[in-house]
């Protein structure tokens, strides 16, 4: 299933079936329209082509597809104001099984002006950056309730100020790696760096190298997307 948002100058196509996201910065409403029609709201011609051949439209077939879309658009009389109310239909599941991501460059080479083509060529580079964001292929089994205990277990101690209102989902930031330092003891000073034990020394050494200003600091690997964008805005992270 595709998720797509269309702005006046920004098309975001998230082709989750392919495991990659495309963020396409464009200004041309026409191009947006074609891309949206082709990828987000596939026409019969597009479906036929992709399902039958299990491949994306090549340079040769694009003009034909576009003419089909043009024809359909005319029939539907979709002008720009009506675009705002456009609701595409979900893509048939068979389309979700493409062997490789859409070749955006092939599309652009036939139907775009030179300026747009240069912009489109950045799609491939941009796509790579969003792979972790969009690799959401698998499903996670879940249950909506926690079963009640069958054994007489310990009860929660009273008097703890626990926030039971705020939704818990997304209260953790995704991380690339979790490093656990085995200390053999169950409690530590408030900041691990302040420990006089080896764990304190180790944490300080890790932060010195991988923290901000360190030689191995890599904002794109170590920080979550949220903190990364805050940093890009010059805010405190």
């Amino acid at each position: 299933m595709w998720q797509s948002r269309l702005y006046h100058s920004f098309v975001e196509l998230r082709p989750t079936p392919f495991g990659s996201a495309q963020h396409i910065l464009l200004s041309d409403i026409t191009l947006m329209w074609y891309l949206t029609m082709l990828f987000a709201n596939p026409t019969a011609a597009f479906c036929e082509h992709t399902c039958a051949k299990r491949e994306y439209p090549s340079r040769a077939t694009v003009p034909h597809l576009i003419s089909v879309i043009d024809q359909q658009s005319e029939e539907l009389d979709i002008s720009e104001p009506r675009l705002r109310n456009l609701r595409a239909e979900p893509i048939p599941t068979v389309i979700c099984k493409f062997p490789y991501p859409p070749p955006s460059l092939q599309l652009s080479s036939t139907m775009l002006t030179r300026t747009l083509r240069s912009r489109i060529s950045r799609i491939g580079a941009l796509r790579n950056d969003f792979t972790t964001f969009s690799r959401q292929q698998s499903t996670i089994p879940y249950t909506e309730t926690c079963p009640s205990p069958t054994c007489p277990c310990t009860v929660t101690p009273a008097g703890l100020d626990i926030d039971r209102k705020t939704p818990l989902l997304h209260t953790m930031a995704p991380y690339s790696s979790h490093v656990l330092l085995c200390t053999g003891k169950p409690d530590w000073t408030s900041r691990i760096e302040d420990e006089t034990s080896p764990a304190g020394h180790f944490t300080r050494a890790l932060k010195e190298r991988m923290g901000k200003g360190g030689k191995a600091f890599d904002v794109f690997t170590q920080l979550s997307r949220k903190r990364r964008s805050r940093m890009a805005d010059g805010r405190k992270i």
Binding site: Q3, S4, R5, L6, Y7, H8, F10, L83, R87, A88, P90, N128, D129, T132, R135, Q136, T139, I140, P141, Y142, T143, C146, P147, P149, T150, C153, T154, V155, P157, L160, D161, I162, L168, L169, T171, M172, P174, S177, H178, V179, L180, L181, C182, T183, G184, K185, P186, D187, W188, I192, P198, H201, F202, T203, K207, R209, K215, F220, T221, Q222
Partner: protein, 221 residues
């Protein structure tokens, strides 16, 4: 990168630390506290395997500095795979009393439950991971060798875990392989995806929310 201390047995060498890496599920014993040892750990296990394209303008030397170099792993002991489910509970009483009080109770609860089920798993306390107000905070790492387990290779974060929830949590997540929505804070899958986002999307579909494509123009100021 998230760095925490944990209560698992320390290295017998006072000048070295045993390190566990998740979701790589590796245990590296006796990483020396020397600059060389720590640099080797960072370069061989923690740096990026593939550089972000924003780094493209950097020189080759600068790029090499940021890239992972598996050859440096030879400076450290051979990594051992972590093969048991690992339950980590925030018990950082030195930072906040809520985790400090609940952590050890939950640890005993998990240990008792694993013993009752005759299940082999590691349970330990860890330092602050964020969100004391959601105590007890529990992270469950399920090793990739648990084949056929739907969550194998994943790390699942739970919050507001009460001692009475422990039995259900073990039953659902470790035995059956299902995440429990009311306690779920998020998680990482074996390939680095965000479990929170995946589950959120599934919930929307299950609750019949409109997942059809919507095209909305951004309102101009």
């Amino acid at each position: 990168m998230l760095t925490t201390a944990c209560s698992f047995d320390a290295s017998s060498d006072p000048n070295a630390t045993t390190v566990l890496l998740f979701p790589a599920f590796k245990r590296i014993r006796n990483v020396p506290h020397t600059a060389k040892g720590i640099d080797a750990l960072i370069s061989a296990y923690l740096k990026a395997q593939k550089l972000h394209s924003a780094h493209a303008p950097l020189s080759d030397a600068q790029k090499a500095e940021l890239m992972r170099d598996p050859s440096l792993a030879t400076h450290l002991s051979q990594p051992e795979p972590v093969t048991k489910p690992t339950v980590l509970i925030c018990g950082h009483g030195g930072r906040d009393q809520r985790c400090g009080v609940l952590g050890p109770i939950l640890q005993d609860g998990f240990r008792a439950d694993f013993a009752r089920r005759n299940l082999d798993a590691d349970v330990g306390l860890i330092s602050h991971i964020g969100g004391h107000k959601y105590a007890g905070n529990v992270i469950i790492y399920l090793p990739p060798n648990m084949e056929d387990h739907p969550l194998s290779g994943a790390g699942i974060w739970y919050g507001r875990v009460r001692p009475e929830d422990v039995e259900g949590l073990v039953e659902e997540t470790i035995v059956k392989g299902r995440v429990i929505i009311p306690m779920l804070r998020g998680g990482v899958t074996v390939d680095g995806s965000d479990i929170g986002r995946i589950v959120e999307a599934q919930l929307k579909i299950a609750r019949g929310e409109d997942m059809t494509l919507k095209l909305k123009p951004r309102t101009r100021a």
